[in-house]
Symmetry: C2
Subunit: 409 residues, 2 copies
């Protein structure tokens, strides 16, 4: 299979498996000017799949940085109404959302943390309805990624520039099971495997998880009615979609007040075009009461003070240390990949689909049943070959879930 064929297959996977475009559907793609060639393919295949209208919002990374450098402070506390309306229209029309990511991990290095967090908070508040629709799978959505020059240079600094993008393409194709035959059936098998894992965990009905690793000793309580999910989602109309490609995780929702202890990250977190790394979070009654980082500490603190819920957990996800992405040995500097190579947690908003009967609840009702809500939802990686996890049941009995970074059952 040559490069062009692989790219075609990736576009098809995106349209037919990731987003699962329906006849007469509106599709909104958010991407950057680094992805034009691939996005053209996706647009074409989306129309071939029957889409009624495919709109692409292209942002340009260079212009984005110019904006953060030169716009006046007030620009970061204003959010355009049209951008809210655009998303609402897609939701009302039963459309779907696709992100084609190619982010330079260092895009916004050196921009004052206050600008980044103002911007994040402003967008987070303005887009509440939309975040709720996406977070509860009321619409189909998917995130895929392709290389940009700057991102590839970060992942493969040792290669000649002209080889970097090629290498990142190959690495990405590998993570999304392209080049090994019929990618669509490979994905089907893979999702079945993840679903099986989720079922096993659901059968255990753990009350708590206890994580231990160098720098980590953390207990996280799970709500009674938690559900472990795989990356396979369904709209209320029953259309399956895959929200992240690749996906290797099974995940659920924690009790907002149920985290106690300390956790250390194991892979850098790229947040708002900046790297945060070497960080330790200390939890008490669910809340982060201490946050330290070797790199990006100011931005980390801004992030967890975005709102009240940004200092609590919203997701617990399990990924074995031996997984296809992890086995590549690559650090992608991109959460979509790095989180699928490692156990991870997310601060901020909860997925109501991970709690039986919560899917249609309002945000305020989620709080009543003990789930966290926030304008942010940010995954961070904590897994390693040295991580053990025990599942603790209501009767106090312990069952090994992970040993030395891998599934214990």
């Amino acid at each position: 299979m040559n490069f062009q064929q692989k790219m075609e297959q990736y576009a098809e996977l995106t349209v037919y498996v990731g987003l699962n475009v329906q006849k007469n559907q509106h599709v909104l793609i958010n991407t950057t000017t680094d992805t034009i060639e691939f996005t053209r393919l996706v647009v074409k295949k989306a129309y071939e799949a029957g889409a009624k209208n495919v709109h692409v919002n292209y942002s340009d990374p260079v212009q984005t940085r110019t904006h953060y450098e030169l716009a006046p402070d007030e620009a970061f506390t204003e959010f355009p109404e049209w951008s809210v309306v655009q998303r609402d229209e897609i939701i009302e029309k039963g459309g779907s959302f696709l992100w084609i990511d190619a982010e330079d991990p260092d895009l916004l290095t050196g921009i004052p943390a206050k600008r980044l967090s103002d911007s994040q908070k402003t967008a987070g508040k303005a887009l509440e309805r939309y975040r709720q629709a996406v977070g509860s799978d009321k619409v189909a959505w998917s995130i895929v990624a392709i290389p940009s020059g700057k991102w590839a240079a970060k992942v493969f600094p040792e290669l000649e520039p002209e080889k970097q993008v090629e290498a990142l393409w190959e690495a990405i194709f590998n993570t999304v099971r392209i080049g090994r035959g019929d990618a669509v059936s490979l994905w089907k098998q893979h999702i079945e495997f993840l679903e099986k894992r989720a079922t096993q965990l659901n059968d255990h009905r753990f009350d708590k998880l206890h994580y231990t690793a160098p720098g980590t000793d953390l207990t996280i309580a799970l709500p009674d009615r938690h559900i472990w999910m795989s990356g396979a989602s369904k709209t209320p109309q029953g259309n399956p979609f895959i929200a992240n490609m690749p996906t290797e995780e099974v995940y659920t929702v924690p009790l907002k007040n149920g985290a106690d202890g300390v956790v250390r990250n194991t892979k850098p977190l790229v947040y708002q075009g900046n790297i945060i790394d070497g960080f330790t979070l200390t939890f008490e009654g669910g809340k982060i009461i201490k946050a330290q980082a070797e790199k990006g500490e100011e931005l980390l603190r801004e992030m967890i003070s975005s709102d009240e819920g940004a200092a609590y957990l919203g997701e617990v996800a399990l990924v074995p240390h031996q997984s296809p992405i992890s086995d590549s040995g690559l650090l992608f500097f991109n959460t979509l990949f790095d989180e699928n190579a490692s156990n991870h947690l997310a601060i901020g908003d909860s997925y109501p689909t991970c709690y039986a009967g919560a899917r249609d609840l309002e945000r305020s009702q989620l709080a009543e049943i003990g789930l966290n809500t926030s304008i942010v939802h940010e995954d961070f990686m904590i897994g390693s070959a040295e991580m053990d996890i025990d599942g603790i049941k209501a009767d106090g009995s312990k069952i090994p879930v992970f040993r030395k970074g891998n599934w214990a059952f």
Copy 2:
């Protein structure tokens, strides 16, 4: 001056003279993915000029064609609400609109005319408030153009592909007075010259214009209170801007019912990604009663039946045959340039700024004073070295305005 310096100067001209960006202003740029490098420069300079927020809507020509080829028919009679809101927000906030054009003149060749006209009509209706704001200069707006590969190939088919874009850049720089010293003062002088022409014409108070040339014998009545304008416009707050760069025309508004006779085009018209050429329009009581074209006749007919006003004139513009653009001898296949090398008319909507006291009138009130209104406004070129124009006064006296394509006074 090297290429990079010329491009910088063009971007400055766009920001400071064309759009005249104000402090804390919102700027909306509509352009295509062919212009990214130049658009980055414009964005940077707009922020340097004090803009609060610069948003760029990038459309991709390849995706646009895919849409016209593959989307279902219903897609062309739907217009997204967000796109209306986006423009309304800019108007409400006193922002400005910039187009950076790089259109492939053949982009939509072969697409059924019905799709093109449905699309045009749908957008025209949905964007009425916006068209009114722009058409009456309630906001600052400007159109500039830069080469794309396909456009350059159309203008310079005889050159090697790698020379075509370069040649079109140089041709454009020339039309916008870049490379001959301080472009800003050159523009100031140029606008003063055009304003003088407009004053002369306004002093004449012509009742009618009579055009004769091979294939053309047309009389156009002007309303009593018509105003000849130059390309220099002003917002209601008094901020000057130049709506078209280049601009060589002086223009006014005709009486809706006042055109009689026949007119033949002299340069191809690019409309909706298609070329219409070799056409003759016959007017009776202002209305086009016959339209024939050697090329693009179906699309021409669709265009003039977009709505009732699309079959009447909305603009009369005078440009001498000897003008910088015309002297280049180039056919640009782009109205922004070709209309500024030739006398032209427009079918469709009128500019209320060309009628004393009409600027703030509603569309329905414009009809009452005899001006045409329409969802389209499309310029077409009729000038040549063989064109004579007489100005006819209310008392029947005739004054030569153009002889052999050039000013007679």
